[in-house]
Amino acid sequence: MLDLPAPTQLAVPAFVLLVLIEMIYGWKTGRSRFEGKDTFTSLIMGLGSTISGALTAALSVGLGYWVWQNFAIFDMGAALWVFVLAFILDDFTYYWVHRMGHRMRWMWAAHVIHHSSQHYNLSTALRQTWTGKFTPGLLFSMPLYVLGIEPAIVFFVSGMNLIYQFWIHTEAIDKMPRWFEYLFNTPSHHRVHHANNPRYLDANYAGVLMVWDRMFGSFIPEEKEEACRYGLVTDLGTFNPLRVATHEWVGIFKDVWSAKTWKDRALFLLAPPGWTPDGSRMTSDMIRQAWLERKKAQKPSNTAASEAVVPAE
């Protein structure tokens, strides 16, 4: 078993320092915004995620090595090109895990934590799940092991991918050079991903390479005329980390418990967030459709006074 460092753990001091720098920069320039309790919750979620990750590591490591040792087609070794290939394939895998994390409620229950802040700053990057290992997301890396890439290499490049994603959680950077915006995930692209404006829902799932969103039709650019408003479609009314970590699991449990048929029970887990048998709640597709219809009808609706275009007061 290759002995590689855990990049995200090594990067923690740099994360702390950069959050502090952004905080001071935002205070001086007004280009970033923080809130004490929100920052505390984001950082506690990050610490909890690290602890839960350490506690459940045996699951992903054990499963990964079992698949690699028993089903690998090739012996890829550990040359530099294998790391490069692993990085690209892991980024492709990340795209699909992330996309499913928004489109399947079971996976959303874990990922929703990362979107639960109404702020968008470097501390939001650290607001991570405690329950990611209890979703089908774990299975998405299996093809890489079957191909013959050693799990330790996948864990390493996956950590590098997450480190890349840290710096894009900021409002302090407007746009990068055009070529960079085309190829890579940037603060602008990722602001769209975190926005709850109907126009921006379920877009820009990329980790590092933006090519996946462009290829699979999920790319939406940030528009100057509509500022991003961050958070969930229905924002949380609490900063309590335990409620933040578990609220969607509780919601699923209630829905599955009260469902009338096995089909409904399955769909409460597998259908997109917001799905109900009677359509009494709204999925992101329904929200976007309603927005498009309002726009088409040019109805002088409440959007005139809406905060959808005024992200912060």
Partner: protein, 146 residues
């Protein structure tokens, strides 16, 4: 991860949160305009009616109940959470249990993400609000029976 790392991380978290609180103090309170803007944002398919809608703002300016002039839209609640506002909409007010204790009105709902909601209102406001909500519920019931 060992206990020293966890302890160090906790200390760093507390320090960063305190610095954030110091550099970015919360000055904005909930106002009637802010409530209306946020209700409009959260409930884009409702119709606001400045003459008939009524906002009941808590005395501490942290919570508010918004009663739609058109009964079919029910009520909305707004809460100042940090420097942001969180809104909930109850078109069917029978989902909400109103409890009056020590002059404070609590709204009890089956909402795990908003564990408590209490407004301190003047006596007149409480009675007007409950009357408006009862009126809304009665109209809903009439619709249901029509």
């Amino acid at each position: 991860m060992d206990f020293v790392q966890i302890g160090g991380s906790l200390a760093a978290i507390v320090i960063l949160a305190l610095i954030a609180r110091w550099l970015y103090p919360n000055k904005a309170e909930l106002t009637e305009d802010r409530v209306i803007r946020n209700v409009a944002r959260y409930c884009p398919d409702t119709e606001l009616d400045a003459r008939a809608d009524k906002t009941y703002l808590s005395q501490d300016n942290k919570n508010a109940i918004f009663v739609f002039g058109q009964a079919r839209f029910g009520i909305a609640t707004a809460t100042a959470l940090g420097d942001r506002v969180v809104v909930r909409h109850y078109a069917d007010t029978s989902e909400v249990d109103f409890r009056l204790e020590n002059g404070k009105l609590s709204l009890v709902t089956d909402d795990f993400t908003q564990p408590s909601f209490t407004v301190a209102l003047g006596e007149d406001d409480v009675s007007n609000l409950l009357s408006a909500v009862n009126d809304t519920t009665a109209k809903d019931a009439n619709h249901a029976h029509a």
